[in-house]
Amino acid sequence: MWIVVGVASLFLLKAGAAKSLVPSKLQSLAELLVEFIQGIIQDTMGASGMRYFPLIGALFLFILFCNLLGLIPGSYTVTSQIVATGVFAIGVYALSLVIGFQLHGAKFLGILVPPGTPGWLLPLMIPIELISQIARPISLAVRLFANMTAGHVILGVLFGLTIAGGLLIGWLPFSFTIVLYGLEVGIAFIQAYIFTVLTCVYIGDAIHLH
């Protein structure tokens, strides 16, 4: 985790230090990243969500670097721990609740009632919405954790097969690992992206309330 913090900060600090109008490669990469995150926020929360850019950006980078650095053999993937993803998921969800209650007060409870629900359906709708709300942090945590863990489990199995198969058959699972590694890098990006997007969606829901 310290490595993650170190690498991510070093990358962005170095990229941000240049400040030149015609960007270098590193600077362009960082700016691309920033604009990418800004794009996510803009798409899901609108312009008012830009306030949360530092948080969302840090979250995205932290998860992304955790995922990527976990792919280096011998290192450890923090995001393959259900606790780690759970902390993030619950933290994000709690933040969205705090923001919602801060902005809308008691009216924020209206998030449990979809617009246009007839009165007699309320006893049914409120429990359903409640479950969907509770499912949010759980799905958020499990998705990231499961993806990361599954990837590593598959890689582990394939490596195990490679070693067990010896030279004769071992090349087959080994070649699979190469392909899977490429896939895992993609998944690392995609999961970080999904986690960030869903975070934005939840916070956006809290801001806009339907």
Partner: protein, 168 residues
């Protein structure tokens, strides 16, 4: 599976929160501002440049139009000036021709008159000189000049002749 081993949950949570907080703080304090600032600056610069370019283009177009109108005006003026100049020169030419003709006519007239006068004078001179010459020649032919007696005799003869003429 180590994932569900609750043995080190608390330490993991602690370190995760701590490291995330540190990352968040570093990025919030030092990394995002310069990058965002650069992006904003670039965006502003690009927008300004575009605006400026648009403005320049508009100005250039306007200038071009102005010049074209000016050019047209100038062409028209030049044409009118040319026509005027042509007319003037034609007029001047005509006047000069008339004046010259009149002058030449006058000079010819005067010359003719002068020649006539000179001719007459010359004729008269010739006449008088001829008379003188005749007298001189007559004197030479007769010899010496006539004596008084001769004069008297001539006079008398002339008188007689006149008398005879007057009688007849």
């Amino acid at each position: 599976m180590p994932q569900f081993d609750s043995h080190f949950f608390s330490s993991l949570i602690f370190w995760e929160v701590l490291s995330f907080s540190i990352l968040f703080w570093i990025l919030y304090k030092y990394a995002w501002p310069p990058i965002l600032e650069t992006l904003e600056t670039r965006e502003r610069k690009i927008r300004e440049s575009l605006d400026q370019a648009e403005q320049s283009r508009a100005t250039a177009e306007q200038k071009l139009k102005e010049y074209e109108t000016k050019l047209q005006l100038a062409a028209k003026e030049a044409e009118s000036l040319m026509t005027e100049a042509k007319q003037k020169s034609q007029k001047l030419l005509d006047e000069n021709q008339q004046r010259l003709r009149a002058d030449s006519d006058r000079i010819k007239e005067e010359a003719t008159q002068d020649i006539e006068r000179e001719r007459r004078k010359a004729l008269e001179d010739i006449k008088s000189q001829t008379a003188d010459l005749a007298i001189l020649v007559a004197e030479k032919v007769i010899g010496r000049s006539l004596s008084n007696d001769d004069h008297r005799r001539f006079a008398q003869e002339a008188l007689a002749e006149v008398a005879a003429h007057s009688k007849s």
